[in-house]
């Protein structure tokens, strides 16, 4: 009898858990993996990640997955493979023995095959010159690709129905009351990403707006900005102390999607490093200078006191002047060192005339 009250209305709308899309950004930086090889070689890590992907797909048969490699000089799609005309013939005869295996669920086999093929391709096309010129990874590019893909998938999932609802040919309208739940998992091995500070933070804020958690699984190295990314998007950040146990970490901490995370206590980072990188030399700074107009950060006053971003002429006040003996001056300098020199009447940089 109590069933007829207001609280029951929404039961009709609520259905089973919404499918989720997992985009994995795999850091394939050759330098970092070479360092990691004694504890966890790339091949083993890939095998673990494949099991993880299968587990994700097993949870719900509408679940989707996508994998981007963030390589040393470019970001590449591993799965789904970008449509290319050259590979078609090669792929069909390479895949046949795998795919007819009756001991493996076919969707799993398809993904594994495609992922391994494209990864091999990526590694074989990497030249020495590519490796020697850079030691980092194109994380920002990969994250951007991931966000773009999520956007496309979300539109595909919800949008089709609104566009083609009038026509009778709306074959695959899969409108669900709750949209596709997406998240990004970054498997990161590289260290410093300071030179990509701005693009990474931009993707972070985009993800934050779209409510896409960015989970970070750190196998090696330490990156300030990925910590900030996961913190801002309410993702999980984990630094593995023993990378051999990668699979268990993946299964326990990173497999639950947003729905089940509500019921779980996610591992959290104790301290988040909120430092920023300067716009001039890409150095991570504790204390720096901030343009009063566009809020760009500089580690030292830009040349000619002109902001590099917005070209505003900044008046630096007395910064850099020889310390005078007058005690009042000394106090002033301290303030300037404090980064933002508010509070003093003259010191606030103002746009020049």
């Amino acid at each position: 009898m109590n069933a007829v009250d207001g609280s029951d209305h929404y039961e009709v709308a609520a259905e089973g858990p919404a499918p989720s899309l997992l985009v994995i950004v795999l850091d394939t930086n050759p330098h970092a993996w070479a360092l990691l090889a004694p504890t966890l070689p790339l091949s083993k890590a890939i095998a673990n990640i494949l099991v993880f992907i299968n587990a994700h797909l097993a949870v719900n048969n509408a679940n989707q997955v996508a994998v981007v490699a963030s390589h040393s000089h470019r970001a590449v799609w591993l799965y789904p493979r970008p449509p290319s005309s050259v590979e078609d013939v090669e792929m069909s005869d390479m895949t046949s023995p795998h795919l007819d295996n009756a001991n493996k669920y076919r969707p799993f086999a398809l993904i594994e095959d495609s992922l391994l093929t494209s990864l091999r391709e990526l590694i074989s096309t990497t030249t020495e010159a590519d490796i020697s010129t850079t030691t980092t990874t194109q994380m920002a590019g990969a994250l951007t690709l991931a966000l773009a893909y999520i956007n496309k998938a979300t539109i595909n999932y919800t949008g089709i129905s609104t566009e083609t609802k009038t026509t009778q040919t709306a074959v695959d309208t899969n409108e669900a009351p709750i949209g596709l739940q997406s998240r990004i998992l970054v498997v990161s091995v590289s260290g410093d990403l300071a030179h990509q500070y701005i693009p990474i933070m931009n993707t972070t804020f985009a993800a934050q707006r779209l409510r896409i958690p960015i989970d970070i699984l750190k196998l090696a190295g330490d990156t300030v900005f990925l910590q900030q990314a996961s913190d801002a998007t309410k993702g999980i950040y984990m630094h593995l102390r023993s990378p051999q146990g990668l699979l268990q970490y993946l299964m326990m901490a990173f497999l639950p999607d947003q729905m089940s995370r509500k019921h779980l206590i996610a591992p959290s980072q104790e301290v988040v490093d909120f430092r920023a990188a300067c716009f001039c030399h890409r150095k991570v700074v504790d204390v720096g200078f901030v343009c009063s107009i566009c809020l760009s950060i500089f580690c030292s006053p830009p040349e000619g006191a002109i902001c590099l971003t917005c070209s505003t002429h900044l008046s630096l006040g007395d910064y850099g002047a020889k310390p005078a003996v007058v005690p009042r001056k000394k106090k002033k300098r301290k303030k300037i060192n404090g980064g933002v020199d508010t509070g003093s009447a003259r010191g606030t940089p103002a746009p020049g005339e």
Binding site: V51, A58, A62, A176, P177
Partner: protein, 471 residues
Amino acid sequence: MSVSTLASFEYLERLPGTTFRRLYQQPSTALAIFRRMLPHLAKTFVMALLYMSKPFPLTDLDLWVNPNSKRERDKALQLLSRLYIITVTPPSRDDPQTITLTQKFGESLRLALTGGGEHNSFGVPSNDSVAEGVDLAFLDEYAREQWEGILHYVVNSVGQSMGGGGQGPTDAVKHLLEAGQLVTTGRHSGKGITQAGFSFLLQEVNAQVWTLLLLWIENAEKMELDSVEVLSFLFMLGSLELGRAYSKDTLTDSQRQMLPYLVDFGLVYIPRSSSGHFFPTRLATTLTSDASALRSVSAGFDAASSAGGAKGFIIIETNYRLYAYTDSPLQIAVLSLFTRFKARFPNMVSGRVTRKSVGNAISHGITSDQIITYLSTHAHPQLVKNASIHGGPVLPPTVVDQIRLWQIENERMKATPGFLFKDFENGKEYEGCVKYADEIGVLIWKNDFKKMFFVTRVEQLRDYIKSKKLK
């Protein structure tokens, strides 16, 4: 909606442990049960346990789960142990309670995820020359024809002559429908539809398929088929790919014996020219799909059926007016079970849901929940879209409530089978038990004054009381 489909799995829950252990030997079965039957949180637990080398202490699980979600946690654990997926060590004073996956299930699920082994449980694709003209559209059309034939047979037994509808199901299926008491062959009024038949009609396709299949399994024992074999075969069908030919050679004898029945149901298509392989249809490949996925699947299925109209075709307004964009006699017949139609146009019918029409349906044994589920399952995309934009329910709440109220008018009582606990020694014991029963979600009614309470399931509570007695 998911509730109605899950209901068909109640059959599985009744199976004894040995049956489960045999079922779990097939990776495809383990995967299907994992995917289809478990609530979301339970899946998370299973995956976390899957590659864990040591037993997982229950106290650690408590640390992992949000304290506010204790109820969900207990429900998940209860279901998992009922399905023999996990084993929880009995509480004792020396060791802390731990949970582990049962060996067979763990092994099979791991095999399913990683591949390998020699079980062939995901079907052997056939490389022989594939029959001409067997494409997705053909399979969909074939499956639809077979299935609608069955539905027409059930509907026609109401007495409303629909006319046409193909040649109807085979005798075997007719027998099955009668055995399952979906239709009766009464002496006085010829064939008649039963209450079960009505609920059958109002289910979504996937649930209908399962209902029929489970009926078949129950009757299979008479046909000397092993229910475990049948189930594993069905779960295997669920993992096959639509539009591919699979070889019959690797099937066991009893599985081959099942194929003709599945052909009758429209789950499998065997080309006449070559008998060496079979094609699973959409009905088969979606057997183990999730409720959310079914929306899209049934859309694909219905869209393929040119005459059947689009999947979502019902618009219902707050003033109880109902518009159904369909010209399928089957759907109109189903709707007319609880709607008073006023006008019929070439591509739509319009009518009203009235107290009398709903009351009529209820007197036939249709429940308000079934009506509501049917309406929301087949709601027009426009309704669904509006609901998702505003975050509200698909159907107008007034209508939903009113339909429920109409049912309650006649039903002042609701019977729940279960167990009554009474005569507690003291208030503390009573309170502990009630609290626990509530947490695991089996508590139906309690009376603090008389120290009595009523539960639907007793197993876990019994263990709990035993463990209390130990201490």
